[in-house]
Every structure is written in structure tokens, then in C-alpha cells.
């Protein structure tokens, strides 16, 4: 089930091959991936994108489906579904607890792929799965890539899979035109940013601060300089995430990139209104709507 890890030398060669492979595929638009289509459309309109995150299965698959459709209607351009994991080391308390609730409710990777399959009958919004590596590895890399593609998943975001280790998964995903979104962090060295920039599919996930997910106030220090450093490394769109909760922050951040990612602030509302579905959908829609409006008003 698990790729046998070749020696370091072979691994690097494989990365090079993979790298060359998808650059030629995505260099031109019309890759067939919904993520590219949305960013192309945003660019043509001169607009910034809003990426909304929720944890799948919290508080149930049906609620997740309703939330996805409501968030799309409220203005979310792309949607990330968190695959809950028992040990979410990159997440703060809000998403940790959402993950525990989803797991307690019996959420599984296979169930989430089923949910995506159902959603694809109703929406063409780009859907990305944010998952730690182990559930994917355990499912089987080849099987997961095939099933995710068949369900209609457009991309994977795997916070504990740096480029050094991403070769085996990338190879499988590439066969199905599912993207693996790379990360850039404020601590990333120029060499690492250059590599992420070259490898990038879809967009680059720029982590706004050194830390875990979770709402924070204001703008992280050094964010402008950091975004400039990433910008020069790639022609791919840049999405900024971690710590963005309010429309004011979203507006400021959106000036620095091509899209903003909001997670914990939405997940908190889901938690708060878990028992009242209509209220939950209204509250989440209102937040997503105000975030979208805020980033649209940037001059």
C-alpha cells in the first residue's frame, strides 16, 4: 500500500520528472482543473478570491453539504473540506475540536469522498481536501488519488507533507489531474520558496504566520515582505491563510495576494450553531458574504 521509498538520489530524480511533467501541463490555461478555471476568471475580472474552510462531517455529512452550497452562494470561490485526523498537529483548538467532533460522529475519508460525489451533482465550485498524510497513506496513495478524482476533488492540501516527501503522492495525483497545493511559510528559505514556486499546481498556500490555524487579530508582522518574497518565485496565484477571521483583515490581506483563506472563524460558527441548522447556514453565509464583500472593495 505504501510506496517503497527509493534512495535519496532516485527520489530527487522522480521529483524532477514529475516537476517537468506538470509544468508543461499547466503552463497554458485550460488544464481542465476547476481551480485554474476559477483563478483565471478572477484574474480576468481583476478580483480577489475567497477560499472557505470547514471540517467535513462536523456536525454531519448533510450539514457539510448544506454548508458547501450555502458558502458558494454567499460568495466563496473555492472550498476546502478538512478531513478530520486524530492528531492535527498544524491546527489550533477550534479545528482540533471540530476534528474530534467529526471523528466521534463517524466521519471517514471514504465517507468524505462520497459526500464530494454527491455535491458534484449540484455544484462546480472547486473542492479541495485538506488532510494530514496518514489517512491518505492508509487508504492507499493510488486508490485515494483515483477515488478523489472520480468523486470530483480538484486538489489536496497536506500540511504535514513537505516537497521532500511529496514525490509518491504527487505521482499518483498527477495521473488524475488532481493538484497537490504546496505551502510557503514565513520561515521558508529562498531555495525552498523557489522550489515550491516551480512545483506549484493550482496556487501556493502562503502561511501568514509561524503558528497553527486559528483566528487572530490584526496583520502578522512581516507579511508584506514575505508575500513579496513568494511572489517573485512563481507566476501561480497566492492564497494567504492562517489567522484571518474578520472582513477587515481579509481586505488587508487580499491586497497582498490573490486569495484569502478563512477557516477557524467559520468553523467556530458551525460549532456555535450546530444544533440549529437554519441558523448555522444563515450565520455562516453572512460571514462568508461579508468577507467576500470586504475583499471585493479593495481598490
Amino acid at each position: 500500500m505504501i510506496e517503497k521509498q527509493a534512495s535519496a538520489g532516485t527520489r530527487i530524480d522522480r521529483e524532477r520528472v514529475v516537476d517537468a511533467g506538470f509544468r508543461s501541463e499547466t503552463a497554458a490555461t485550460g488544464s481542465g482543473n476547476r481551480i485554474d478555471a476559477v483563478f483565471d476568471r478572477l484574474r480576468l475580472k481583476g478580483r480577489k478570491g475567497l477560499i472557505a474552510y470547514i471540517t467535513a462531517g462536523d456536525p454531519g455529512y448533510e450539514a457539510t453539504a448544506d454548508l458547501v452550497l450555502a458558502m458558494e452562494r454567499a460568495g466563496a470561490d473555492l472550498i476546502e473540506l478538512g478531513v478530520p485526523f486524530s492528531d492535527p498537529m498544524a491546527d489550533g483548538p477550534v479545528i482540533q475540536q471540530a476534528s474530534m467532533r467529526a471523528l466521534a460522529g463517524g466521519t471517514t475519508p471514504a465517507g468524505i469522498l462520497g459526500l464530494v460525489r454527491c455535491l458534484r451533482r449540484q455544484t462546480q465550485v472547486p473542492l479541495l481536501l485538506m488532510t494530514y498524510y496518514n489517512p491518505v497513506l492508509h487508504y492507499g496513495l493510488a486508490a485515494f488519488a483515483a477515488d478523489a478524482a472520480a468523486a470530483g476533488v480538484d486538489g489536496l492540501i497536506v500540511p504535514d507533507l513537505p516537497v521532500e516527501e511529496s514525490g509518491p503522492l504527487l505521482t499518483e495525483l498527477q495521473q488524475h489531474r488532481v493538484y497537490l497545493i504546496p505551502f510557503a511559510a514565513p520561515t521558508s528559505t529562498p531555495e525552498r520558496l523557489a522550489r515550491a514556486g516551480q512545483l506549484a499546481q493550482g496556487f501556493i498556500y502562503c502561511v501568514s504566520l509561524t503558528g497553527v490555524t486559528g483566528a487572530r487579530e490584526g496583520l502578522p508582522p512581516g507579511i508584506e515582505e514575505f508575500m513579496q518574497r513568494v511572489r517573485v518565485c512563481t507566476d501561480r496565484p497566492l492564497a494567504i491563510g492562517f489567522g484571518i477571521a474578520s472582513p477587515v483583515q481579509a481586505a488587508l490581506m487580499s491586497k497582498l495576494g490573490d486569495a484569502v483563506i478563512v477557516g477557524s472563524a467559520i468553523v467556530s460558527l458551525v460549532e456555535q450553531y450546530a444544533a440549529e441548522r437554519e441558523m448555522m447556514l444563515q450565520q455562516v453565509s453572512a460571514l462568508v458574504g461579508s468577507l467576500k464583500q470586504a475583499i471585493s472593495q479593495v481598490d
Binding site: 505504501i2 510506496e3 517503497k4 521509498q5 534512495s7 535519496a8 527520489r11 485526523f85 486524530s86 492528531d87 492535527p88 498537529m89 498544524a90 489550533g92 482540533q96 474530534m100 471523528l103 471517514t108 475519508p109 471514504a110 494530514y132 498524510y133 496518514n134 489517512p135 491518505v136 497513506l137 492508509h138 487508504y139 500540511p159 504535514d160 507533507l161 513537505p162 521532500e164 516527501e165 504546496p182 505551502f183 510557503a184 511559510a185 514565513p186 520561515t187 521558508s188 528559505t189 525552498r192 515550491a196 502561511v207 509561524t210 503558528g211 497553527v212
Partner: protein, 409 residues
Amino acid sequence: MSLTRVDMPDAHGHFGRFGGQFVPETLMPALEELAAAYEQARQDPSFDEEFRYYLKQYVGRPSPLYFAERLTRQLGGARIYLKREDLNHTGAHKINNTIGQALLAKRMGKRRVIAETGAGQHGVATATVAAMFNMQCVVYMGEEDIRRQELNVFRMRLLGADVAPVTSGSRTLKDAMNEAIRDWVTNVRTTYYLLGTVGGPHPYPMLVRDFQTVIGVEARAQILEQEGRLPDCIVACVGGGSNSIGIFHPFLDDPVRLIGVEAAGHGIETGKHAATLSAGQVGVLHGALSYLLQDENGQVLEAHSISAGLDYPGVGPEHSYLKDSGRAEYVAVTDDEALEAFQLLTHTEGILPALESAHAVAYAAKLAPTMDGDKIMIINISGRGDKDVPSISEARGKRSEAGESLMKT
């Protein structure tokens, strides 16, 4: 001793297919920086000199290799030697690693160290070196372990460390490690993560191993001096795997059986155990690919062991490699067997082993009688049992209620 150069792992920390660096991008540069600093330190004779100085003058090394005459007689088989890591300053092998890493942190100019701890031995060892080297220290510890290891919590606080209770998940070692990683991601520029075992992302499994090989290097020289030959087998307990890798490593190229003993908790068949190598499947947790206790969806399972130091669902990647390559064997003993072995060693030798180490004693007690009297066995007594006295009296209380007696030795 010296920090031996070995051909494993490769540049990104792979032991065959195991190991690696499965961490958020934010931490990757920190791991690169750490690997570079360690490489530099290894090539600097003054680093090794300083390390050896503290091991000798502060830890009290070399630790004795003691011939356990009464235990040998009672079991009626192989001649049994005990490697006495319990006599180290702070009471366990953990201090070997914390001295090494604190020296590294100092070289790197980091003044704040963080650590995870299960039994509290690594936490105490970290708090100790932080006091000595004047560093700020935060130790993450699961609430369940804080309850089980009250004495060590008090010791850490006396040493000036901030013990941060972890309330997520199973509230044990794995959750403490998640929390330590979250702290590190947040404070990566100023903080040194002083990891306590041969797990986690590269270069930790390598550098912790290198600092712990002092156990095996000494044991090898000592047995050659005392017996004039190498031992037939070495038995050590495996939590994350640092004391066992430390004693195994210098014997890898010798014809010596290496046996790692995991915690079978209530019994592997009950599902309540911590026997990762015996009953786990390959997966990724805390930055490394290794054997892992997980369910059918790749969710990490809670481990169970009476011993907080073994209560972890993962294991260091080099052990996974040694298991698959067949170079080392891994077995498991239950809570009850470990408690009996605790009693056995206490009564025959007047040595209270840590509950972790009692697992090694328990398997040794099964194996020794099957061996001839001219065979030699070394058991690594990774730590002393003072910290476990409350848990043991609790367990004994439960047992006598159930009409059993622990006093049968």
C-alpha cells in the same frame, strides 16, 4: 566514546523506507538548520569533549554493568548483567540525550527549550539541563500522565520548568508531542525543541540515537572486560525506542541477539496495549514514517500501558527498519508481567526498576531460563522506579481487592 558515523539514515533521514520529515513547511527550515548545526558539532572535537565532560562529571557515567548474581541463580539459566542507567543523575537514560541536545541548543543560540514527556523522566531531564545551562523551559505533559507521575511533575516545577498540561486527545504522550510541535511551529525562531526519543522528523531519530549510543559503547567495553566476550543477547524496553537503540546500536554488526520489549498492556488481543512493532501497521505520525497503532481509517489509536513512558502509539523509525530487516526482534509483555518483574528485581537484587525497564526484566525472566548457564544476557535498566511507587501501590491495591497477590516471589 565518540559520536559514530553510520551509513543510516540518508540525507533526509530515511532508514530504508522509514523515517523522513513529515512536518509543516514552517518547520522544515528549522530541521535543516538543526541538521546543519549537528553536522558541524559532530565535526568539532570540542563538542564531543564537552559532551563527554558532562556525561562523566554531571551524569556520573560510565554507569555500571552489574552482574545480577541472585537473579541469575533464581532464574536458572543465562548469566544476567544489568546496565545501570537507573544510577544516572535524574534516574534514567534520558539525561544522556538532554545533555547532548542542550549543548546543541546552546551552540545554536536558543535560550528557550520545549519538550514533551510521558513518564516525566524526559521532562525532568530537560528541566535539569535547562536549569544548569540557564535556559527557559516548558514541558508539555498529558493530564493523564500528570496524574500518574505526580512526583516528576513536582520535580520539574522545582527545577524551574513550566509544566503545561495537555487536555487534548488521550491526554498522554502523543498529545503532549502534538502540543510541543504546535508550540515549536509558533516559536520556531527562538525555541529549541528538545525531543525525548528516537522518533519525530529527521534529524531527531539520528541525533538522539547518537547521544544514547554511549549506553551500548560502554556496555560493550564492560562486558568484554568482565567476561572476555560479547553477550549472547541484549534485552531493552521500547517506548519511542531511545534506550533500546542506544544499547543496540554498537552491537549491530556483532553476532548478538537484540530484543526490544514493548508494552502489551492488558494483552495485545484486548486492543489495550502499546505494542506498536508487534501489532501496528506502517503510517506517519509526528514527522516520521514508521509502525503505528491505527484504525482502518488511518486514525491513530490510543495506546495503553501501566507505564507512562511506554504509552505511545508510535515508535522510532530505525526500529521499524531493524524489525523489517530482521536484525532485531520485538516482543511484548503485559502490565501484570511487568509488575511481577518489578517485584522480582526488587526482591532479588534490591533494585527498583522503572516500570518501563520492568518490561525488559519481564521478558528476560522468560528467556533466561531457556538459555544455558554459559550464555550471557544484558538487560538495560533504563531507569529507576521511585517515580512509579504510587502507581505500583495503586495497582497492588486493585490486585489484592481482586484476591491476588503480588508477593508471590
